[in-house]
Amino acid sequence: MRIVVNGKDMLFGEQITILGLLEKLELSKEGIAVAVNGEVIPKSKHDSFSLKDGDEVEVVKVVGGG
């Protein structure tokens, strides 16, 4: 299964949830936001939301800016 994470192609052998993806990539689960195909998926749904082949995922956090 191919998923694009922050513009980068990634292959996964099996079904994966958003939470599973964050854990696999060793990303923080706090202070981030996730969107799938342009839609923000609230944190409360990260453990139940299964990603599909071809999904485009954005994982963002707060950084310095003016």
Partner: protein, 259 residues
């Protein structure tokens, strides 16, 4: 006399707002924030680096319980991009305030007002407190007020230019056109640029690059804190009229040796 800034029902005693971009470290940013006396600080939202993870988080240094965090949509070039970014910012921070920026051109970073207005309408419907970065255009400023924006943020000069206030008359027109707070954003080059803007009666100033690129950002933050207060007090005090010719300050009568 009690003098405070009120945005969307929240009161602030400082009229200086700062950005958090381009500082050497989060620690320096924190010290600048403290020295400036600012209570509102802007932040950006960016992709997490999935290969090179930095463990440090800006919000570990700046406590959202103490400071009003103002996420921005910097880097967006359409209403759609800005709306998506605002949604991500709200999810990441739990804060529904947004400094709405929709840029129209990479070279000048001037705002695309049509797209900004469109994005503002939708974000307000979605429950955001919207503070749009706008051109110094009083007609558009009124439109943003009419749709329910919490403030308008006209530029003094292009972002990061440090040119200082370029068109005081347009800022005066904006001040007269709207009753929501007017926050002059972008273009401040140093503390000296602030009082002439505050003297026009605007509600607040937002600056970032002038702090980050100062030789001593913490000292500049202190200077800007005082400059903002000086400008505000000077506005409230009311300046004397401008005259073409001199008027003596000492009595004309009784000058020694003069009959």
């Amino acid at each position: 006399m009690e003098d405070y800034l009120e945005i969307a029902g929240r009161r602030f005693s400082s009229r200086l707002m700062i950005g958090s971009g381009k500082f050497k470290s989060f620690q320096q940013n924190k010290e600048v924030l403290e020295a400036s006396g600012a209570e509102i600080i802007t932040v950006a939202v960016r992709r997490v680096n999935i290969t090179d993870k930095d463990k440090e988080n800006l919000l570990d240094y700046i406590d959202p319980k103490i400071y009003q965090i103002l996420p921005n949509t910097a880097g967006c070039y359409s209403a759609k991009e800005a709306i998506n970014t605002a949604m991500l910012a709200r999810e990441a921070t739990g804060i529904n305030w947004i400094k709405l920026e929709v840029i129209g051109d990479q070279k000048t970073l001037l705002p695309d007002m049509e797209q900004t207005l469109e994005a503002a309408k939708i974000l307000i419907k979605e429950g955001f407190v919207v503070l749009p970065y706008i051109f110094d255009d009083p007609i558009y400023a009124k439109k943003f007020e009419d749709i329910g924006c919490a403030a308008v943020m006209p530029l003094a000069a292009p972002i990061g230019s440090g040119l200082g206030l370029q068109n005081p008359y347009n800022i005066i027109f904006i001040r007269e056109a709207v009753s929501i707070p007017v926050i002059v954003d972008a273009g401040i080059g140093s503390a000296a640029d602030i009082p002439p803007v505050m003297e026009l009666g605007v509600d607040a100033i937002l600056t970032n690059t002038a702090l980050a690129e100062a030789k001593d950002p913490i000292m500049m933050a202190k200077a800007m804190k005082h400059a903002t207060i000086a400008g505000r007090l000077s506005y409230l005090a009311g300046r004397m009229p401008r005259r073409t010719y001199a008027v003596p300050s000492s009595p004309l009568k009784g000058v020694p040796y003069k009959n």
